[in-house]
Amino acid sequence: MRIVIAEDNALLREGMVLLLSSNGHSVEASVGAGPEILPALRNHRPDLAVLDVRLPPSFRDEGLRAALAARRELPDLPVLVLSQYVEETYAAELLAHGAKGVGYLLKDRVGRVDQFLEALETVAGGGTVLDPEVVTQLLSRQVAARPMRNLSPREQEVLELMAQGKANNAISEQLVITERAVSKHIRNIFDKFNLPPEGGSVHRRVLAVLTYLGHDIQES
């Protein structure tokens, strides 16, 4: 997979290049400042962009703004945003233009190499990956949100894992239930959220996650 990286810390940038190239990916470009991101993406048209949120010159949310601009300008480009901290607002902004090929993870997760590579694959394949921390923030704040009240605790757990971009088999492993049970829970979630079956199951998963995020489900 061809990847463009934006990260201002040289050590971490080199570490990521090493990690990705030793796992069969090619790093097309690695940039260290916000304004360099979009030109690099336009030039290389990579399969995936991995962007740090806080970058020079202003050390604010350059990376996130670049990610949002990239999603408008290159809608098919999957973007994974990495950050030292997560804000659910940022997740909502990233998902505002649809949940296809979006990831938002804490930088800490890079250390779990296998899971990190899996997340890269998911995002590059058009999936959605949200950091468990974002999901926890959402869960703790959105408990009173209307559609969530209808879900059983188990269904909530399943949805939470779906929001993290996990596939059915991974969910069944984590919750120690059969895949059939997972599918049943997911069908219940779709029903309770009134999600029409015609969209295809991947699309419906995204819609469920968006509903979960408090978004209008007509969007995307």
Binding site: V53, R54, F59, R60, D61, L64, Q84, Y85, E87, E88, T89, A92, L106, D108, G111, R112, Q137, L138, R141, Q142, V143, A144, A145
Partner: protein, 411 residues
């Protein structure tokens, strides 16, 4: 019996004279009652300079604050009496004589009230004694003079058939003199502009000392979090990795276990560090400013929040410490509303005026919030106090609840 029949004119006149006499009596009573005080003040005129004199040679230093204290009591007594006579209240304002002997000495010397009181001593002595004497004379002269004057004027008026317009002259002077004396006292003993300023300086020094103390406590907390938490954990992790290296050749399985532990530990350190950073200055403030950060808080709230943040969006940015405190106040306020209030809507308002930022967080919930029940508000108070601000919580049972925080923000 005609001689006993009431004669309206005469009675009016005698009552006018009577009123004048009663008035003059009250006025001179005020002066005569001041005589004992004048005698005390007379001695005070010698005691105060004498104690100051001895103080210069240091032997009298311990006595000086006590003398000033006694002087204040004396002045306080007269302040009330003269104020009551004039129908006003005279505020009393002194620097409190607390602390060590040198502190008390310094306060007694620097309080402008001390010197005004000292000046008042001879004024009181002389004015009361002289005016008392004068009023005594006025009685002797005034009673027959005004009596005759009024009597003649009334007789003339009666003959002409018009009401008398004559007023007692000499007797009214008594009141005039007494009021003069009382107003000298009041003007001398009223707190001067400089003593009000001195009071304000003392207040500000105290609140600044509190703010510095609260700020130091905050620094110590951060240091403790980093030192006992993060640093200690990193040492433990380094040790784990060292062990792993040692075991690498002979026991790969154990090496793997140590490395797993090390990685888990690092993730915990990162989470702790993130928490510490967040308590110091939430990163979202850097990214989005206070208005953006508060919008993010509101977006995450399950209860609708009505936001009025325009005053913190326009104009120059607030100091970072004020932004951080404001952010925590609102985050805590919204959390409490979500957890306890059963509200259906809430609001966050910013106002900015006279170098003061006012944050008001309200909800339409059930009220009855107890600030001692949770530690959240205690933390808010600590943060707000560190910036010399104030926090007030009003929450009657049945609602609504209002949390109002005022922070000085320079402009």
């Amino acid at each position: 019996m005609p001689e006993f029949e009431p004669q309206p004119d005469t009675e009016e006149d005698t009552s006018r004279l009577g009123a004048a006499v009663r008035d003059a009596r009250d006025a001179s009573a005020f002066l005569y009652m001041g005589l004992p005080m004048a005698v005390v003040c007379f001695f005070g005129c010698f005691v105060v300079p004498a104690s100051l004199f001895f103080t210069v040679f240091l032997i009298g230093a311990p006595a000086w604050p006590e003398v000033v204290r006694a002087l204040r009591r004396l002045a306080g007594h007269e302040r009330v009496r003269a104020g009551a006579f004039l129908g006003t209240t005279v505020p009393e304002q002194y620097l409190p004589l607390d602390g060590s002997l040198s502190d008390r000495f310094r306060l007694a010397m620097t309080d402008p009230g001390t010197w005004r009181d000292a000046l008042w001593l001879p004024v009181q002595t002389l004015s009361v004694m002289l005016l008392s004497l004068l009023t005594l004379l006025l009685w002797l002269v005034g009673l027959p003079l005004d009596g005759v004057r009024l009597g003649v004027a009334d007789a003339v008026a009666r003959r002409r058939g018009v009401p008398s317009r004559a007023e007692p002259l000499v007797l009214n002077l008594q009141r005039f003199l007494a009021e003069r004396q009382a107003s000298w006292t009041v003007n001398l003993l009223r707190p001067s502009e400089s003593s009000r300023l001195a009071e304000r300086v003392a207040e500000l020094s105290e609140s600044r000392a509190g703010a510095v103390e609260a700020h130091s406590a905050e620094l110590r907390r951060i240091e403790r979090d980093l030192h006992d938490g993060v640093q200690a954990q990193l040492v433990a992790l380094s040790l784990r990795i060292g062990l792993a290296k040692q075991q690498l050749a002979k026991d790969p399985e154990a090496t793997r276990a140590r490395l797993d532990e090390a990685q888990e530990g690092i993730e915990r350190v990162l989470a702790d560090l993130r928490h510490v950073v967040r308590t110091v200055y939430p990163p979202v403030l850097t990214d989005r400013g206070l208005a953006g950060a508060v919008r993010a808080l509101a977006a995450g709230s399950s209860i609708p929040v009505d936001l009025q943040v325009s005053v913190v969006e326009s104009g120059h940015r607030l100091p970072a410490s004020v932004e951080a405190a404001a952010y925590f106040v609102i985050a805590e306020g919204l959390t409490n509303i979500r957890k306890h209030s059963r509200a259906t809507k809430s609001s966050v308002r910013f106002q900015r005026s006279d170098g003061q930022l006012t944050i008001t967080v309200t909800d339409d919930g059930r009220g009855g919030a107890d600030e001692h029940a949770g530690s959240g508000l205690v933390g808010i108070r600590r943060r707000v106090a560190a910036l010399d601000g104030t926090a007030t919580l009003t929450s009657p049972v049945g609602g609504p609840t209002e949390l109002k925080v005022e922070l000085p923000c320079g402009s």
